[in-house]
Amino acid sequence: MSDINAATETVAGAPTTSTAPAPAKDSNTAPAKERNASLWSDAGRELVRNPAFMISLGYILLMVSMAIVPWLWTSRDPAICDIKQSKLPPFTGDHLLGTSVNGCDYWSHIVYGVRPSLLIALLATIGITFLGVTLGVLSGFFGGWVDAIVSRIADMIYSLPYLLGALVFLTVMRKSELMTRSQNSQVVVIAIVLVILGWVGVTRIMRGSVLAAKNLDFVHAAKALGATNSRIMFRHILPNAIAPVIVVATIALGSFIAAEATLTFLGAGLQAPAVSWGVMIAGHIQYFFEYPYLVLVPCGFLVGTVLSFILMGDALRDALDPKLR
């Protein structure tokens, strides 16, 4: 299949002849366009054309704007509730999505509930990416005892079932002052626990990528030039190994949102009166049979968000993986 690969290989850049440099007028306009002709911009162009990606992105942006400026989306204060207005169905009066058991406006809870969910997921994702990449690069690049220690710890975490680990950590952590102080500190604690249990996957991917990248010719070339270890790691290996991590991180972001809901369902996540989708679902699950919308509405938003992140990760994977082109 070498033929057709070669045929499409040079398509991205205009073919130029080496002996006769391209005419000057051509090169005046070219650089601006060429500058972004990297893997990422190729991927970017492809993603823009991918409807699933764009819809997901739009949805996420919507959610993010709710998280940042919830008051633009609802004029109601989610903390004002009237028990006598309990469990109104959607589209009753001025309650777009009805009211919760406590008689709180459900739409305002949806709007204000995005923030903790997204925040936890975002913090946890940043955490696993940072920790996972660092440890993965170190253990992949240096090998030896660094690798042995990281691998053993990774084994430990891996062999601890995720949910079990999270529950154990959280039931311990929640005793600490951190969990009782404010919603934000609860968010941080949950994110930390998710990071502690989540970095292993990223580390393994990163380690594998680094091991593969370590033997690439251009790394040898840099070494032969006398490049230092840190230069090789950060300038050469990292940029080339990071793509799969970004894909995994996007998907992890989605799964963390779901994880927060699951932990809350199990009573180890955020606690009311904190407003989050997880709290909304967990708090109403017992009313599911009679008032299914109380569960299905926040679930719908949750699934939409998780779905969006996963679809984005998926699209990103396809766009970044030259093998699938």
Binding site: A22, H220, A221
Partner: protein
């Protein structure tokens, strides 16, 4: 000889084979490079030829410092680089630069051409002041026949031959005396090979470079090399000028190798002295005793198994040849 820019003395590289449950013990070694003596003179091209598995790539890695030799020394301008460490080795490396085989993998796809060629300056910051680097990179691009305006492009926007030029430009950045070319054209299309070989030729003349040219393609080596060393299983079996090696080969392995090279001339069909070797190259982990080529050699006698032939000039070989029964035999030309 004062103009020797690089010399290897008994260069050896063994990769240990280990086994063990908790603690690894050495149970043997892959003798990739097993005692090699080479000399490279200023301005000349030394070709190193051999089949895959003969230790060519390991030799290349040793020479540019990507591997540490097990024993022996690599002397660059009188300084034994294999004994250096840290900063000193990085300085020593400036003098010997590498052009790699695969133009697709040897350039970092995430860096622009300018970054790739300019990287040597960032590593060896004293070579060029910061403000001057871009200009120098553009000069280099021009030197290797690329458009200096393409400094911001990425490698994948170039063809294989152009990439190989980028690789050469990178190697030239630090103005080294020696360039080690490890199969620089074998991954290129035939119509492009000649472009790159001619470029290398021109650069050598212009800059007084010395090349070590490692390749499996004997025709290419013949074209470019002044002197040639033939490797088999980690050892040099024959060395000499290109005429000596190609027209008067004395080692049976060299002869077999040369005779197998097809010549693009159908009129020579059936008129060349063809030697077809049997079997494969033995494992370098367990090379034959005595002469390593004896298992495939048609001249083999008892002495070959017991006594290792030295690489030396003998009665029937005017140039060094490691065979007890060295004898000239022209296999390249038609025997009509």
């Amino acid at each position: 000889m004062s103009d020797v820019v690089l010399e290897t003395r008994d260069l050896v590289k063994h990769f240990p084979l280990t086994r063990g449950i908790l603690f690894k013990t050495k149970i043997g070694a892959v003798r990739a490079v097993d005692g090699i003596n080479l000399q490279l003179h200023r301005g000349e091209t030394l070709g190193v030829v051999g089949e895959s598995g003969c230790g060519k790539s390991t030799l290349a890695k040793l020479l540019v410092g990507l591997e540490k030799p097990t024993s022996g020394s690599i002397v660059v301008r009188g300084q034994d680089t294999s004994k250096l460490s840290g900063e000193a080795i990085r300085r020593a490396r400036r003098n010997i630069q590498l052009v790699m085989q695969d133009p697709y993998t040897s350039l970092n796809p995430r860096m622009t051409v300018g970054d790739i060629i300019g990287e040597p300056y960032e590593i060896h910051t004293d070579v060029a002041p910061k403000g001057d680097r871009r200009r120098r990179v553009q000069e280099l691009l021009e030197l290797v026949g690329l458009n200096p305006e393409h400094i911001n492009r990425y490698p994948h926007q170039f063809s294989g031959g152009q990439r190989q030029r980028i690789g050469i430009a990178r190697a030239l950045a630090l103005k080294p005396e020696i360039i080690l070319c490890d199969e620089p054209v074998s991954a290129l299309d035939i119509s492009i090979q000649a472009q790159v070989m001619n470029l290398l030729d021109e650069l050598q003349k212009e800059m007084g470079l010395s090349y070590i040219f490692i390749a499996h393609d004997l025709s290419v080596v013949r074209h470019i090399a002044d002197r040639v060393a033939v490797m088999y299983l980690g050892k040099v079996v024959e060395s000499g000028t290109d005429v000596q090696i190609y027209d008067q080969p004395t080692h049976p392995y060299t002869q077999a190798l040369l005779s197998a090279v097809p010549v693009p001339d159908p009129t020579l069909r059936g008129h060349r002295d063809q030697i077809v070797l049997e079997g494969d190259v033995p494992s370098p982990a367990n090379p034959p005793s005595g002469c390593r080529f004896r298992t495939r050699c048609w001249k083999v006698q008892d002495i070959c198994a017991t006594q290792e032939p030295l690489l030396q000039i003998s009665a029937k070989s005017a140039h060094p040849s490691a065979c007890h029964f060295a004898e000239v035999r022209d296999v390249v030309h038609a025997t009509q």
